[in-house]
């Protein structure tokens, strides 16, 4: 039995009869998973946690200046897939990733790749804001400093200001840059984390439920920021809020039980999806 078959066998123990039937019926992703101007190209990505397969043969491009949202029920593999895009799964000993993920033509799954500069090129914003226990200034300056991006204090000051401005936070913190980052509100902390991410000039920003801990106003500010950041970066966002996916992304990918069921223009996915599983999920007929 192949490794894949073993993994599916293990997974199958957790599935209902109906889910098994869906598994057997899965005949590949519906919709065009490619981008005309891709920044990241993922092909045949498989992920296992020990012998349990979490992602099966996922292919997806993330284009320049676009936001791709990944939606699906808990356990569908969307966050696992997101974590592949900057090798965050390396931090999990049981995780094994196969396939190909190319960032601007470079294979990032290559064992020889140094993940530290990779994670600067592919930044990540997490569900809960996680500023360093340092000042607001140091939170943003830390990355450029360790990556040696600035030659002088003046240059670093300018980069901190630019990053905080792009993250829409500068005017709120410019008079208290020396105060602790954790003293900011939740929404401000999340924007500080975004400023920290963009300070090292990433090509792609990954966001894993970036607004789930925020109130509606802070959420709206972050969503507006995502739209503005799109002009310079590519963004992949995992969200449980379908309304958020509809608001912020140009393309939407629906994951189900480790498969990429469907990907397409966001407006099409939410008005006329091509796969029954997508439709059942986004209309609230899940389970």
């Amino acid at each position: 039995m192949s490794t894949t078959m073993e993994a599916v066998g293990v997974k199958a123990q957790h599935l209902s009869a109906a889910e098994l039937e869906q598994e057997q019926d899965f005949a590949g992703t519906v919709g065009d998973f490619t981008s005309p101007d891709p920044r990241m190209v993922c092909r045949g990505v498989n992920v296992w946690y020990d012998n349990k397969q979490a992602i099966r043969n996922v292919s997806l491009d993330i284009g320049r200046n676009e936001v791709v949202s990944m939606i699906g029920p808990s356990g569908c593999g969307k966050s696992t897939f997101l974590r592949c895009l900057n090798r965050m799964n390396d931090t999990i000993p049981a995780a094994r990733v196969e396939g190909s993920i190319m960032l601007d033509g470079q294979e990032i799954l290559d064992k020889d790749i140094d993940v530290v500069p990779l994670r600067a090129r592919v930044g990540m914003v997490f569900q809960k804001p996680n500023p360093f226990p340092k000042s607001i200034y140091e939170n943003v300056a830390y990355g450029p400093r360790i990556h040696g991006l600035c030659n002088s204090v003046a240059e670093l000051d300018e980069l901190v200001e630019t990053s905080l401005t792009r993250a829409g936070l500068w005017n709120e913190v410019k008079d208290r840059l020396g105060q602790p980052g954790i003293g900011l509100s939740g929404g401000q902390q999340q924007r500080l984390c975004i400023a920290r991410t963009i300070a090292v000039s990433p090509e792609l920003i990954l966001m894993d439920e970036p607004c789930s801990a925020l109130d509606p106003i802070a959420t709206a500010i972050i969503e507006n920021l995502i739209d503005e950041l799109r002009e310079q970066y590519s963004i992949a966002i995992v969200t449980h809020s379908m309304q958020q996916a509809a608001r912020v992304s140009q393309r939407t990918a629906y994951f189900h039980l480790g498969d990429l069921i469907e990907v397409g223009p966001t407006q099409q996915i939410f008005t006329n999806p091509g796969h029954k599983l997508t439709e059942d999920y986004i209309t609230g007929r899940f389970g």
């Binding site: 379908m242 309304q243 006329n272 209309t283 609230g284 899940f286």
Partner: protein, 229 residues
């Protein structure tokens, strides 16, 4: 067969709009049937108050459906087929309301024709009315069963109604010229013919909305309309 919504209240709200639309359709069908029946039989003709009261009931349904859809859009944020269904239900309700208006106008003209007393040949208009009634009944049945194939067939058949309308209209125009003594009732018949033809167009709109509701495909709206009158 669609799965039920996880949130039962959402499922009930959607079912409620659908049920109201189907009831509105039945009522509209009865209005048209009654108006057509008056045409050949003055003993069944109602008074203007009864005609208006019946039309008001249809108007109430349209307002109720619009309100229900507004509530669901605001409170449930429907997506995909649910969103298309609700948009389609509002549009269908608008077309049914227009159909009922035409039925009301037909009924009122028939009342005046009977009061006027001029004897005219109504057989052409009756034939046209029968075809239009059949189309309306068929589309309501298709809406009830989400039958896209039936909707497309009904949509295509509107060309036959248009052709029948043109023939009937032209025949009656000739009658009006030949027998000027019956000019008043002939003119009423011409307006009734036009109302029936317009009902046919509204039926095609409902057919288009049904296709959109089920498939997401937009047919060319009003492509069937031909108006040479």
């Amino acid at each position: 067969m669609n799965k039920q919504h996880t949130v039962r209240a959402f499922e009930e709200a959607l079912s409620g709009v659908r049920a109201d639309l189907l009831r509105m359709g039945q009522l509209t069908g009865k209005q048209l049937a009654a108006a057509a029946a008056f045409l050949g039989n003055d003993s069944t003709a109602p008074d203007a108050t009864a005609i208006d009261a019946a039309d008001n009931r249809v108007d109430d349904f349209e307002a109720r459906i619009e309100h229900e859809v507004q509530q669901i859009l605001a409170l449930r944020q429907p997506m995909a087929n649910d969103l298309r269904s609700l948009l389609s239900f509002v549009r269908m309700a608008t077309d049914l309301e227009r159909i009922a208006d035409h039925a009301k106008n037909i009924a009122k003209r028939v009342v005046r024709m009977h009061a006027n007393g001029e004897s005219v040949d109504v057989s052409g208009t009756q034939a046209l009315a029968a075809r239009v009634q059949a189309q309306l009944a068929a589309i309501l049945e298709a809406v009830e069963s989400d039958d896209v194939a039936a909707a497309r067939a009904i949509w295509s058949r509107d060309a036959e109604i248009d052709a029948l309308f043109e023939k009937t209209f032209n025949d009656q125009l000739l009658n009006l010229c030949r027998v000027p003594d019956t000019a008043v009732n002939c003119t009423h018949l011409l307006f009734i013919d036009k109302s029936l033809e317009r009902i046919g167009d509204h039926v095609t709109n409902v057919a288009e909305d049904l296709v959109y509701k089920v498939t997401g495909e937009r047919m060319q709206r009003n492509q069937r309309i031909s108006d040479s009158s």
